[in-house]
C-alpha cells in the first residue's frame, strides 16, 4: 500500500515526468508516451516489399516456401486431409488446454521416433502450441517459473531474430555461444565447444535441431556427439528448437537425429516443434512443446503446470491446423504422401542452391560460394554485409534481412 501512496503523490505532481505528466492533462491521450515500435526485422521486410512498386522486385525475406512459379504451395496431403476432416462434420467444442490429444501424441512420435523409450515409459509430456513461436514462449515461461538453475539462455551466434525477445519477454537473460564462422561461412566447432565448456552449470542452452536459422549451417553427427558430451559435463538444460524436421535433408529421421541422440545420451531435453514449414501450415499455427522428464509421475506434474501457464494466455489452442497435421501423421497413405512432398520441397531447395552457385559463377563471380551448397535448409547466409544488403534493396528491389540471410525457398528458376 505504501507503494501506491507514493505513486499517487507522483501523479499529483504530474506534469514533471513526461510519461506520467501526460495522464493528468484532460484532453490528452493515455498513450502519449508510447513510442513508435520499430518494424519487425523479419516480417517488416515483407511490409516494405509490399509497398515497393518495382515490377522486378523479389522478396527473399520471410521463410515461407514457394513453388517453382513463386506461388505459395499447399501440400496435396494437406488438401486431402482437409477433405477428410470436412466430411466428418465435426463440432467446434473447445479443445483441452493441452490441445488435440491425437496431435500431441503424433507430434512427439515424429520427433522422438515411435519406439522411443521415453514415449514407451510415458515420461514426457507434449502440449499443442501456437506453432514454433508459441511453443518457445510456453517453454520460456515454464523455465522462468520452474527452472531452479540460472535463468540464462545461451543462444548460438547468430540465431533466429525472434528468440531473443521471446526469452526476454518471459523474463530470462540472453547469452551466446560461438556458432557461425564468417571466414568459412561454416560451423565454428572449436569456438562452440570452447564457449559451451565455460557455461555455468544448470544454465539453459538452445540448440537448433537442424537447418540452423539463419545460417543454414548444421553440425555433423560426430560434432553433435562431442557437443552432447560437453553439454552433459556442464550439466546444462537443453532446449531444442526444431522448426524444419524433414524440410532440411528431406528425411525426417535424419533431421531428428540430434534430438534423438541427446535423449539417448541421457539429456532430459525440452523441445519446440513447428509444422509451419514442413507441412506448409504457416497460418494455421501448429506446433508442439515437449518436456522429457525423469518419470511418468514428474511428467504429470509438469503437464499440470504447463496448463496453468497456457490458460491465461489463450485458454486452449486452435483446432484446425492440429487436426490437419494429426490426420496426415496418423493416416498411412497421407503420411507417405507427406514424406514424399517434404522430400520434394527439400530437394527443390537443394537444387536452387546448386543453381544459385552456378549462376553466380557464370556471372563472373570469383568469390567462393561453396557455402551456399553446404548450408542446409530454407535459409542461406550469403555473407553479404548490411551495406551490400541495403544496396540490393534500394537499387534492385531485392529484399532480404539485414544480416544477409536469404530464403532459398522463395526462389524460382527465373529469379535465380
Amino acid at each position: 500500500m505504501a507503494l501506491l501512496k507514493s505513486s499517487k503523490m507522483i501523479y499529483c505532481l504530474g506534469n514533471i515526468s513526461p510519461s506520467l505528466g501526460v495522464l493528468s492533462t484532460r484532453n490528452s491521450s493515455w498513450w502519449g508516451g508510447v513510442q513508435m515500435g520499430p518494424p519487425d526485422p523479419i516480417l517488416g521486410v515483407t511490409e516494405a516489399f509490399k509497398k515497393d512498386t518495382n515490377p522486378k522486385k523479389m522478396n527473399l525475406g520471410v521463410g515461407a516456401y514457394r513453388d517453382d512459379q513463386g506461388k505459395p504451395f499447399v501440400l496435396s496431403c494437406v488438401r486431402k486431409a482437409e477433405a477428410i476432416i470436412a466430411a466428418k462434420q465435426l463440432d467446434k467444442e473447445y479443445l483441452p488446454i493441452g490441445g488435440l490429444a491425437e496431435f500431441s501424441k503424433a507430434c512427439a512420435q515424429l520427433a522422438l521416433g515411435p519406439e522411443n523409450e521415453v514415449l514407451k515409459s510415458s515420461r514426457s509430456v507434449t502440449v499443442q502450441t501456437i506453432s514454433g513461436t508459441g511453443s518457445l514462449r510456453i517453454g520460456a515461461n515454464f523455465l522462468a517459473r520452474f527452472h531452479a538453475g540460472p535463468h540464462d539462455v545461451y543462444l548460438p551466434k547468430p540465431s533466429w531474430g525472434n528468440h531473443t525477445p521471446i526469452f526476454r519477454d518471459a523474463g530470462m537473460q540472453l547469452k551466446a555461444y560461438r556458432y557461425y564462422e564468417p571466414s568459412t561461412c561454416g560451423f565454428d566447432f572449436k569456438g562452440a565447444l570452447d564457449d559451451i565448456s565455460k557455461i555455468p552449470e544448470q544454465s539453459i542452452i538452445l540448440l537448433h535441431a537442424c537447418a540452423h536459422n539463419p545460417t543454414g549451417v548444421d553440425p555433423r553427427p560426430e560434432q553433435w556427439k562431442e557437443i552432447a558430451d560437453i553439454v552433459k559435463k556442464r550439466n546444462l538444460l537443453v532446449f531444442f528448437d526444431m522448426a524444419y524436421q524433414g524440410f532440411a535433408s528431406g528425411d525426417i529421421d535424419r533431421d531428428a537425429w540430434a534430438v534423438r541422440h541427446f535423449i539417448e545420451n541421457g539429456h532430459n531435453i525440452v523441445l519446440s516443434q513447428s509444422f509451419a514449414k514442413n507441412m506448409g501450415l504457416y497460418g494455421e499455427r501448429v506446433g508442439g512443446f515437449t518436456v522429457v522428464c525423469k518419470d511418468a509421475e514428474e511428467a504429470k506434474r509438469v503437464e499440470s503446470q504447463l496448463k496453468i501457464l497456457i490458460r491465461p494466455i489463450y485458454s486452449n489452442p486452435p483446432v484446425n491446423g492440429a487436426r490437419i497435421a494429426a490426420t496426415i501423421l496418423n493416416t498411412p497413405e497421407l503420411r507417405s504422401l507427406w514424406l514424399e512432398e517434404v522430400h520434394g520441397m527439400a530437394n527443390r531447395i537443394i537444387k536452387m542452391r546448386e543453381q544459385l552457385v552456378a549462376g553466380l559463377k557464370k556471372n563472373g563471380s570469383s568469390h567462393n560460394w561453396q557455402h551456399v551448397i553446404d548450408q542446409i535448409g530454407m535459409f542461406c547466409f550469403t555473407g553479404l554485409k548490411p551495406e551490400q544488403v541495403e544496396r540490393l534493396t534500394k537499387e534492385f528491389s531485392v529484399y532480404m534481412t539485414k544480416d544477409g540471410r536469404i530464403s532459398m525457398a522463395d526462389d524460382s528458376n527465373e529469379q535465380i
Binding site: 501506491l4 505459395p72 479443445l95 496448463k307
Partner: protein, 410 residues
Amino acid sequence: MSLFSDVPQAPPVAVFKLTADFREDTHPQKVNLGVGAYRTDDCQPWVLPVVKKVERLIVEDESLNHEYLPILGLPEFRSAASKVALGDDSPAIKENRVGGVQALGGTGALRIGAEFLRRWYNGVNNTATPVYVSAPTWENHNGVFADAGFKDIRPYHYWDAAKRGLDLAGFLDDLEKAPEYSIFVLHACAHNPTGTDPTQEEWKQIAEVMKRRKLYVFFDSAYQGFASGSLEKDAWAIRFFVSEGFELFIAQSFSKNFGLYNERVGNLTVVSKDNENLTRVLSQMEKIVRTTWSNPPSQGARIVSKTLNSPELFEEWKGNVKTMADRVLLMRDQLKAKLQALGTPGTWDHITQQIGMFSFTGLTPKQVEYMIKEKHVYLMASGRINMCGLTSKNIDYVAQSIHEAVTKVQ
C-alpha cells in the same frame, strides 16, 4: 536429480474438472450445467448453419492458402469485428481512431491488452497499477492480469447475494475509492458468472465516476448478440462509453456468438484519442504479439470475416444468434415457472432477470454438492449454471433437484 523434482502438481482448472467428472458419471439422468458452451434442445453442440455454409465456401475457394497472416491478423476481420462492437455509424471509426488486434479468443485479446497496459500504461513497465475485477468474475481474469505482470489485483463489489442482484452502491463506492488510473475490467453484457448487468442508467453512473477518477476502461465482451438476441442492445454500454470520449480496450470473443469455440477467434479493439496515438499503440501491440504467437490462426478469422462482410451472410448470422439467445430465454422462463410451481422456497425472479448464458442460482456450496453427488446435476461450486445445459427433456428433473437441494440442505 531432476531439475523438475520440485515442480508441484497444479490443481486442475475447476470448470474443466467438472466436465471431466460429468463424463465419467454413468447415471442415466446426469445433467451438465458447467462449461459455458451452447447446446441445442437435444443437448448437442451446435455448429451454426451460417458457419457450415461459409466453411464450404472457404474449402471450395482454390485461391486460398495457408500463408501467414500479418502479425495483427486478417485486416478484413479486424475492421469488421471492431465495427460489430462499435456500430456501423461509429464516429470513432469514422475518425480513424479505432484499431483491432486479432487474438486467440477472448482470452488472447485480454492477455495482449493486459501485456500492453503493463508495459505502457500509467508509466512504463508499471506492475503496480491496481487492476479491479468484479466480485465474482470469470476466474481466468485474475490469471491473465497476474501473468501479464500486475501485482495488485483487487475485487470490486458487484454481486449482492442477499438481494440476488447488482450491488451498485458497493460498485460505485469502489470506483470512488480506487486510486486514480486504476484499471477496471468491465463485462460488456451477460456478466459471467452472475448474468446480472447494470441497467443503462446504472452504466451512466458508473461512467461518470470512472471519467472523474481517471479510471481505465477495459471491456470484456464475450456475448454480444448472445445475451439479448440483439447486437446493438448488447453493445450499448460499450458504445455509450466510447461516445463519452473514453479511450478504452474491448476484448471481443467470437467463441459463443459464432459457436467457433475451438478456432480461437477474438479481437482486441483499441479506441484511442486520435489516429496518431492509435498507430503507435498498434506498433507496440505487434511487438507483444510477435513474442507470444507471432501471428494468429487464419481459419476462424476467415469464417467470421466472410460472414460479417457479406450482407446476406451477416443477416443469416444474426438469425442464428437470435436462435441461441431465444432458446436460453425460453429455458429461463420455464425454470423459474417450474420452481415457482413446485413452491421452492426463496425468490426465483433473478433467473429471468439475469441475462446470457449463465445464472447465479444462489445455491450454497453444500447445496451444490448435493446436486452433484445425489442428483448427478453438475454445476459450479459458486452456484453458477449454464442455461444452455437445460433442455425440454431435463428441465423437470433439474427443477426438482434444485427444489430438493434447497429444502433438504442448508
